[in-house]
């Protein structure tokens, strides 16, 4: 388009289009980012959670523990309770099996029963062995484990926790 052919009308049209496009992009692109922002955030906070003193845990008997994590979602703080059992399989300090007591069926909390020698879920009669395997009931998989743990110098067991 040479300058002679560009009429006043066309100039206004083109200018309006360009300026409008710039304004649209300046407002529109940040707006898209603003909308999808929560999906781009990695929420996973991590921590070492003290569970209890090793000397308090009897060998062969699951030791119950629980802890609370505060999650911040936007402007809202939610406290979530977590619980589990630490089992010393032998006298060796590192021979530990730490289970999450959240039932793998529908997330009720399982309890260790001395008489049944199993973890029982009150909701749908699920039954897990001391090693967390499914013995009976609807759960699709064994109890989740806290695989990473460590012992502090003064004998406190800590588990590694990462927010989902």
């Amino acid at each position: 388009m040479s300058e002679q052919e560009l009429s006043r009308r066309d100039f206004i049209k083109v200018t309006t289009g360009i300026v409008g496009g710039i304004i649209g992009a300046v407002v529109g692109l940040p707006a898209v980012y603003y909308l999808i922002d929560p999906a781009l955030k990695s929420g996973g906070k991590e921590a070492w959670i003290p569970v209890g003193k090793l000397e308090d845990m009897e060998v062969g008997k699951p030791y119950p523990f629980s802890f609370t994590r505060v999650q911040v979602n936007g402007w809202e703080r939610t406290a979530t309770s977590h619980a589990g059992y630490a089992l010393r399989r032998s006298e060796a300090p590192n021979d530990l099996l730490i289970l999450n007591s959240r039932c793998t069926h529908l997330a009720c909390t399982v309890n260790w029963s001395e008489t049944a020698q199993a973890y029982l879920c009150p909701c749908h009669d699920a039954k897990f062995s001391s090693s967390g395997d499914v013995l009976d009931g609807p759960p699709p998989r064994p109890l989740d484990r806290y695989d990473e743990f460590r012992l502090t110098d003064d004998g406190v067991l800590e588990i590694y926790y990462r927010e989902a």
Partner: protein, 222 residues
């Protein structure tokens, strides 16, 4: 490619009458204009901008006394470009009141409200009032000290109307005190009722402008 687009355009034009819309709205004859004649379009643009940014703000804002303030803090600090979206809405609101008011002054000064445009003027008065209503209701939503006391004073002023003042005050506040009900109804008015009123009135306003065309500036003989 150009052929396909041309065909697609013709197909749509035949059914939608695109050319007619374009000719009547964007290509209509205008008197020799000046920049003062663009204030109505500027108001319309600001209305759309406020609507768009407002919709985006409602994604994160929550109109409850417990969370309203926190949710705005979150928009400002926690969300990408939240400061920009809220900033545009905040300053756009002020600018819209100013532009709408100057638009009204221009129409008054150039006597453009006379026959046959009296209804355009009257509807414009309604638009001005609805715009001020948007400003008044939106001011409470951040639920900070300034918002709270501005609304306390504002509703108190409305309450000084003789005889029915107390009723107006209670109707505005949703009770005798400024409360969660006040915040909720101001929010409803701000995002549903007043925008609906504005959109409807803008529709009529634009129809009348297209029907009558823009007014000429008065000459010495007028």
């Amino acid at each position: 490619m150009a052929m396909i687009l041309k065909k697609l355009y013709n197909w749509l034009d035949e059914r939608l009458g695109l050319k007619g819309i374009y000719d009547n709205i964007l290509d209509r004859p205008e008197p020799r204009g000046n920049w003062w004649n663009t204030l109505g379009s500027a108001s319309l643009f600001l209305f759309i901008l406020q609507g768009a940014t407002g919709i985006f703000l409602s994604v994160y804002y929550t109109p409850s006394p417990d969370h309203a303030y926190d949710s705005i803090q979150y928009i400002m600090d926690g969300v990408a470009f939240g400061w920009l979206v809220r900033g545009i809405h905040h300053w756009g609101a002020t600018l819209m009141v100013v532009i709408v008011f100057i638009h009204m002054l221009r129409v008054f000064v150039t006597a453009s409200f006379k026959y046959p445009r009296e209804l355009t003027w009257l509807i414009g008065v309604g638009l001005l009032l609805a715009t001020l209503g948007m400003g008044f209701t939106g001011y409470l939503l951040p639920w900070n000290q300034r918002a709270y006391w501005a609304t306390t004073v504002g509703t108190q002023i409305a309450g000084t109307v003789p005889l029915i003042g107390e009723f107006i005050l209670k109707a505005l506040r949703g009770g005798t005190d400024l409360s969660a009900l006040t915040l909720q109804r101001f929010f409803a008015a701000h995002i549903w009722m007043l925008p609906a009123v504005l959109a409807g009135l803008i529709g009529i306003h634009l129809y009348l402008i297209i029907r009558h065309g823009e007014s000429h500036l008065p000459t010495k003989e007028d």
